[in-house]
C-alpha cells in the first residue's frame, strides 16, 4: 500500500534542552512531513511528550518510527495507527462579528459546543476543542464572517482504555 495518509505517533523524550531540535531535525533531514506537533511536560517532570501527526505511506511511517527510536533521548515511540485513541485539538479563532452577524455566529458556537472567550465591538474570540475535523468544520463555517486570526495547538492523543504510552 503506497498511499500517503496521516498517522499519529506519540514520542516520549527526555525533558532536556535540544531534544525537540533532535526530533524535528531528524524529520526534516529524512524528508518526513510533519502536519502538527504538540509538546509538553508530563506527570514525570523528566519526561516530555510529543504528539506528532505525519503524512506518508506505510514504509515511510515504518522509517519514522525506527529512526525516531534511534535517538538516544527518545524513551518510547507509540504508533497510534492501529490503536483506538482519543484525540483532541484546541483552537482559538478570532472572527469579525458585527451586530448583524452576532446571533448567527453564537448559534454556530453553540452547536459546536465552543465558547466565546473574548468579545469586542467588532469581534469574537472563540475557543473550540475537539478532533481535527471538528475544528476544521467550525473554521469553515466561520470563514464567511471574516476570520481575523486562528491559532491551533496541534493534535494531542491518548490510547483508549488503560494502555499508556510509558514503556
Amino acid at each position: 500500500m503506497r498511499r500517503p495518509m496521516q498517522h499519529t505517533i506519540t514520542v516520549l523524550v527526555e525533558n532536556k534542552p535540544g531534544v525537540l531540535a533532535r526530533v524535528s531535525g531528524l524529520f526534516a533531514r529524512r524528508g518526513f512531513n510533519i502536519e502538527s506537533l504538540a509538546v509538553s511536560i508530563t506527570d514525570d517532570p523528566t519526561v516530555s511528550r510529543m504528539t506528532i501527526v505525519v503524512t506518508g505511506d506505510d514504509s515511510t511511517l515504518d522509517q519514522i518510527n525506527k529512526q525516531t527510536w534511534k535517538l538516544i533521548d527518545v524513551i518510547n515511540v507509540v504508533d497510534y495507527s492501529e490503536i483506538p485513541i482519543v484525540e483532541r485539538e484546541l483552537a482559538l479563532i478570532k472572527v469579525s462579528a458585527n451586530t448583524d452577524d452576532r446571533a448567527a455566529i453564537m448559534q454556530i458556537v453553540d452547536i459546536f459546543r465552543a465558547k466565546i472567550i473574548d468579545i469586542s465591538e467588532s469581534s469574537f474570540t472563540i475557543e473550540v476543542t475537539g478532533g481535527i475535523d471538528k475544528v476544521d468544520a467550525i473554521e469553515e463555517l466561520l470563514r464567511p464572517y471574516g476570520i481575523m486570526e486562528v491559532v491551533r495547538t496541534g493534535k494531542i492523543a491518548m490510547a483508549r482504555g488503560s494502555h499508556t504510552a510509558m514503556a
Partner: protein
Amino acid sequence: MNGANALIQSLVDQGVNMVFGIPGGVMIPIYDAMYGRKDLKNMLMRHEQGAAHAAEGYSRATGKVGVCFATSGPGATNLVTGLANAHMDSIPMLAVTAQVRTTALGKDSFQEADITGITMPVTKHNYLVKDVNDLPRVVAEALYIARTGRPGPVLIDIPMDVSLAEIDYQPIKDVNIRGYSPRVDIDESKIDEAARVIDESERPVIYVGGGVVTSGASEELTRLSEKTHILVANTLLGKGAIDENHPHSLGMLGMHGTAYANHAVHECDLLIAIGARFDDRVTGKLAAFARKAKVIHIDIDPAEIDKTVSVDVAVMGDCREVLAKLVDKVKARKETDWNKQIMQWKSEYALQCPADGDVVLPQCVIAKLSEFTKGEAIVVTDVGQNQMFSALFYKAVKPRRWLSSGGLGTMGYGFPASIGAQVGCPDMPVFVICGDGGFQMTLQELAPAVEHKLPIKIVLLNNGYLGMVRQWQELFWNKRYSGVDISVQPDFKMLAEAYGAVGLRVTKASEIGAAFEKAMEVNDRPTLIEFRTSPEENVFPMIPAGQSIEEMMVNRPRSEG
C-alpha cells in the same frame, strides 16, 4: 580537581590512553590537565580534520574508541567532516570540543559555534555539558554509546568555565541510559526461518558489509560459507570479513565491483545480507537489484530493515551472535550447478591486471602491493580511483586490515586515518594508498607522522587529475574535463623530504617491487612513494550510477578506444 582534570581522569578510567587533537583558547584547561601525564598522550595534529580521521583510523584498526580533541568554533567545525565520515560508516569515535563559557553561550562570542547543533545529524549522540558534576557520567555514557549497538561518533562539548569548575571526582562504574538499550535479544524463530529459507534456496549468495567486521564475525561467516558452499560478495567496508583469497570469496560487488559478484547477485534466488545496508553504490537501480531473489537481512539496526530494499526474513541482532546460531541450524550442502555457474563467471570475468610496457599502471601498483604484503599489513585508502583500484586489486585477508571511507567518500581521509592505524597497531606495517588530489587535502599531517617516527608507507598514485571525476567526464560528459587538471603540483618526493620523511619516485613498472622493499627498510619515519601513473587510466568494471548490471562496462568501451 577541576572539570578538565575530571575529563582526563574519566577518559583514563574508561581505558583511553591516546587522543588526537589540537588545543585553542578555551581548550587550554584540558590540555593543561594532560600536561606531564604518562597515562594519556595527545598526538598533536596540524588540522582538526586530521585529528578526526586519525581517531577514526585508530578505531577501525583496533576496534577501540578513537578520541579526538578540538577547541571551540573553527576547531570544532573542522571536525565535522570526520564525524560525518564516522557516522556514515558506523565507526565508534569520541570527539571532545571546548566551548566558550556558559555565560557567553548564545551571544555570538569569539570562537563560538553551536557545535552540538551543527553535529546533530552527523553524530550518534552529542552532549553540551553545563554542570561539571555531569562530566564523568557523560564521558562514560558517550564512550558506551559510541561502541555499543550500531557504533558511531559521539561528541562532548565542554564550556571553559565547566572545565575550570571544581568537582569531587568519583569514577563511574555503570551506565544506564533510559532511552538506549543496544542489546538485541535474538528471535530464535527468525533464525529457524532464515535457515529454512537458505535450505530451500537453489541459487543463494551472501552479501556482507562492515557489520561483520564490527562484530568480529569473520570466523562464523567463513564457517557458514564453508558448510553451505554459498559464495560471499563483500561491500567496500566488508573487505576482509572473509579472506578474499578464499575460493568462496567473490570480492566486492556494486558500482565498481567484480563482474562475477554482480552477476551472482543479479541471478541469485536468495540474497543473504549480513551487516550491510543496501547502499546505492551497491544496488544501483533498485528495481533491478537482485530482482529474482528473496532477501534475508541480518543487522543490529532495525532502521536498516526495509529501508530501501524490502526484506523477506529480518534477523535482528549482533552479526556474530546471529551467525553462530545460524551456522548450526542450516543444513550442510555440497557444491551445485549454481556454484559451477559462478565459478565460470569468475574465470570468464577474472580481473586482469593490464600491462603497457614499462608504464606504471595503478592496477599493477596495487596488485604488486597485494602480492608484496600477502595481506599482512593494514591498508588504508583515500577516496576516488585509487580506492576503487585498491578495492579490486588488493586482497584483504583479515578484518580491520582494510580501512576506507565508504558512505561519505571523503577525499583526504586516507593519510590521517593511516596515522591513527599506525598509532593503534605499532607493530603492523601500514600502507596508505592515495591519489594526488586527496593527499593534498590533508598532507599537513606529515609533520606529526615524522615527529612520532611513524613508519607509514604512503603509496601516492599520481596521475595529475582528480581521476574519478575525470573518468565520469570521459565516459558520460563527452570528455569535457572541467576542473580536474591538477598537474600543477609540488614535487612530492621533495615535499616528503622537506617534512623529514623519505621520498621515493617510481616512473617504471619494473621498479614497483623494489620501491616497496625500500620503503619496508625505513622504520623510523614515513616513506612516500610517488608512482607516476598513466594519467587517463579508468576503473573497470563499472556500472553507471543508478543503472543495472545490463549497463555494466567490464572493460573500457570499444568506441572510447
